[in-house]
């Protein structure tokens, strides 16, 4: 892939126009008709040589294909400052160090596997399930704060603060530092946005955010080594199992950043998309209120119907034949997971929200090697949040539909969700 800082964007073709329209914030509220058009041609070559893949069968096949690499993160490159010492010596070193901090979502096996294994050793069943009561308490507190109001802004009041509180506690990041890392985290999550990846300003901002959050994490890790606590970061930083490799300090910092950023950026969308969908389907909201045991089905259907992550990119390590096309070696490949989850070839009536469908095999958490590490935690948070919202908000209804959306097309979700209520139970 050419260095996006230098490259002139090539002119748009028909196919590019379609994908460009999906990226266009104007279509953020309802990209699904465009995704349906994408699926008419499962594999589309774009003007810049990248490929967009959109059907369930093709994406499924590619997610398990070992020729698709996740190592497609563009290298960090600091812009010229005019100071030769910086431009020729210091910044290239800093760039190389920053680039060496590749989180495991941008790594292939065997490195990916050993890193992930170390993370999973900390992300234990006990630790994850142990969050249950805490999540419930946080949700109740956050809902309680809305008492006396006739309007709830879901993102601000619950969807954002809940996952932040939970991931901070699990990792051992002081929650009061949230104001510091919020903007860094949001900035860094643009690494998944194709538009932002091409944008020079965004990439500059990413470098700055990375430097800041990496400094923050290094300090925190030092603290965890000095005074270990019962949290994931302490566990990772003081790895004691001599039979497995321990993480390098680069990997430790990048893993900590990844878990912090991924731990809330996506869950925010899942909770907000979830409530939005239930409010648009009041019958389902009522059923969930009356029977909270429906939650697991509701959540899986949400992950299919309004997934928090709409696409991921990969790089082809070899020529790959799929759906009648050949993706050539070296090409960047965009897997439109959200289009696959609405593929009528795979799901009957895909545009209907139906938690009772027999077979919800979605790509809401991805599939294959890079399946979302945090999926079990997200399920706990979303279940408790949605059930309590349904049970405690009196006569909730959308104050604005569609809501305003955050800029991201890959990490897609409302910027705010205004809900009118008659009170709190």
């Amino acid at each position: 892939m050419p260095d996006a800082l230098a490259a002139e964007p090539p002119p748009l073709s028909q196919d590019d126009t379609l994908f460009a329209r999906i990226l266009d914030p104007a279509n953020r509220a309802n990209p699904y008709p465009l995704l349906a058009r994408l699926r008419e041609k499962p594999v589309r070559r774009q003007q810049d040589g990248s490929y967009v893949v959109s059907t369930h069968a093709a994406i499924r096949s590619l997610l398990f294909d070992p020729r698709l690499s996740s190592e497609d993160l563009p290298p960090f490159r600091r812009p010229p400052t005019g100071n030769p010492l910086k431009d020729w010596l210091l910044n290239p070193i800093k760039d190389r160090i920053a680039t060496a901090h590749r989180p495991l979502i941008f790594r292939d096996p065997p490195d990916h596997d050993s890193l992930r294994h170390l993370v999973m050793e900390q992300f234990t069943v006990k630790r994850v399930r142990g969050t249950h009561d805490r999540v419930a308490a946080v949700v109740d507190t956050l809902i309680e704060r809305c008492r006396g109001r006739d309007r709830v802004c879901l993102v601000e009041d619950l969807s954002y603060p809940l996952p932040v509180a939970v991931i901070c506690e699990l990792l051992g990041v002081p929650e009061q530092d949230e104001s510091q890392f919020q903007s860094w985290a949001t900035q860094l999550s643009t690494a998944l946005e194709p538009d932002a990846r091409r944008d020079a300003d965004t990439r500059r901002a990413n470098v700055a955010s990375f430097d800041a959050i990496a400094d923050y994490m290094r300090a925190l890790i030092r603290e965890k080594r000095r005074k270990p606590a019962d949290d994931m970061l302490s566990g990772l930083a003081n790895h004691a199992d001599p039979t497995t490799r321990k993480m390098s300090d680069f990997d430790l910092v990048s893993t900590a950043i990844l878990l912090l950023v991924a731990g809330h950026e996506t869950t925010v969308n899942l909770i907000t998309n979830g409530m939005l969908t239930l409010l648009r389907h009041p019958h389902e909201l009522e059923r969930l209120r009356a029977d909270p045991e429906r939650a697991p089905r509701v959540i899986e259907e949400l992950l299919r119907y309004e997934p928090p992550v709409h696409f991921r990119t990969r790089k082809a390590l070899g020529d790959i034949a799929v759906a009648g096309e050949t993706i050539p070696k070296g090409a960047s490949v965009m897997l439109v997971l959200a289009a696959a989850s609405r593929d009528p070839e795979r799901f009957p009536n895909p545009d209907i929200f139906d938690p009772d469908r027999a077979d919800i095999q979605h790509f809401g958490f991805g599939a294959g090697l890079h399946y979302c590490v945090g999926a079990p935690l997200a399920r706990i948070e979303v279940e408790i949040a949605l059930v309590r919202l349904c049970q405690r908000l009196i006569r909730p209804r959308l104050a604005q539909d569609p809501p305003s959306y955050r800029p991201g097309a890959a990490l897609r979700g409302p910027a705010g969700l205004e809900i009118t209520i008659d009170g709190i139970v």
Partner: protein, 75 residues
């Protein structure tokens, strides 16, 4: 309840282990050990495991209220 997992389908995502830790355990990198006869009290957890499985490999009898046990010896 009676549970069977299609271990040809299973790829060791371990989502069931988080949903129902007393009924599903992952050993080594990807060996799933499960209880084929979990007690009725685990119904909620087993239901969560079934739904969370990314490859839909878990089949259960007795999950949705009462389905009559069919098998009787003799005729």
């Amino acid at each position: 309840m009676r549970v069977v997992v299609d271990l040809n389908r299973c790829q060791g995502y371990a989502q069931c282990c988080y949903a129902a830790p007393e009924s599903f355990v992952l050993r080594g990198h990807e060996i799933l050990f499960y209880d084929p006869a979990p007690p009725a009290a685990k119904r909620g957890e087993i239901a969560r495991a079934v739904q969370a499985c990314p490859v839909r490999a878990i089949s259960v009898e007795g999950l949705d209220a009462v389905t009559s046990p069919e098998v009787e010896t003799g005729s």
